[in-house]
């Protein structure tokens, strides 16, 4: 818990009600949730980058007249021709992009709710509460 000493003028005499406590708890939950979501979003973005690189490699196959690539499936590398490889890669990419879109939507929702709560809580308690660590 961080404690900063307020001047007498900044002190809020507003009583904390149960409803306030619930709002504070909700904010806290959303905050934790948001961190998790942001981590997931970053991981997915990195995965999408990799898969897009793989796509380019598979495309080059056509140009270079290669007849197979090695797909990393589990702990083995499987020889796959262009069709198999490009299907695999594009399916994977679509799946990742869909997941990423979901996560971004949830992030926006959480941030929206937190913003509303901040307004309410800062409105009542002023500098007696800190919601921006």
């Amino acid at each position: 818990m961080n404690s900063s000493v307020l001047t007498r003028e900044d002190e809020s005499n507003a009583e904390v009600t149960r409803a306030d406590q619930e709002k504070i708890n909700l904010f806290s939950r959303l905050n934790t949730r948001l961190s998790g979501l942001k981590e997931r979003s970053e991981r997915l973005e990195a995965d999408i980058d990799s898969i897009e690189q793989s796509e380019m490699v598979v495309e080059e196959m056509m140009v270079m007249d290669q007849d197979h690539v090695l797909l990393n499936v589990g702990t083995a590398l499987v020889m796959a021709d262009e069709d198999v490889a490009s299907t695999y890669v594009s399916t994977e990419k679509d799946s990742l992009k869909a997941k990423h879109a979901e996560v971004v939507a949830e992030i926006n929702k959480a941030e929206g709710e937190m913003s509303a709560l901040k307004q309410e809580l800062y409105g009542k308690f002023g500098s007696s509460i800190n919601l921006d660590p």
């Binding site: 818990m1 149960r18 504070i24 909700l26 499936v73 702990t75 590398l77």
Partner: protein
């Protein structure tokens, strides 16, 4: 995400909201004792929190492996024909192998046991295990959410009781 607090979770006591800090202090010998009592509760919750996080990390750690295994099995399920595979025989060293259409796979069950399953049964088994692990993680997440709520309530209570005491001392001095 629910706005209302969730019901009591297995083994996690609810931290009661203090309607009136001064009344709460009156229930104890003095403000210091009231704060000590709250701090004790707080430490217990923090301990539980650390425990649950450890459990979650352990179970969640199994999930990526399960997902990778499942993906491999599903790949071979689709490709019911001979495949040439570069298999890892040592760190960074691969050897080519020709794998006939996969009928059975062997699954490591732990405790030095490996069991052979027809590929479709293996897929079903891994799917169940993966779903089980995910459900356990979800349960722990729910517990952690509830715990966080109790901890936050307690932190606010500690601040309010402390402040109520500061105000009271100020008034008696005035």
């Amino acid at each position: 995400m629910a706005a209302k607090p969730t019901v009591a979770h297995r083994g996690i006591p609810q931290a009661d909201f203090i309607d009136n800090p001064n009344a709460f202090i009156a229930q104890h010998k003095n403000a210091e004792e009231a704060l000590t009592s709250l701090n004790e509760q707080y430490s217990k919750y923090k301990f539980m929190d650390a425990q649950l996080i450890r459990q979650k990390t352990s179970i969640a750690g199994r999930i990526p492996d399960l997902e990778a295994s499942l993906k491999t099995i599903q790949f071979y399920q689709q490709k019911r024909e001979e495949t040439t595979v570069n298999h890892e025989i040592a760190d960074g060293v691969y050897a080519k192998a020709t794998v006939p259409a996969v009928e059975n796979v062997s699954i490591w069950l732990g405790c030095s046991t490996m069991v052979e399953y027809p590929i479709d049964d293996a897929e079903a088994l891994l799917k169940r295990n993966l779903a089980g692990a995910r459900a356990q993680v979800a349960g722990l997440d729910s517990d952690l959410d509830y715990l966080k709520e109790q901890i936050t309530t307690l932190e606010v209570s500690l601040a309010r009781v402390y402040n109520a005491d500061v105000l009271r001392r100020r008034q008696t001095r005035a």
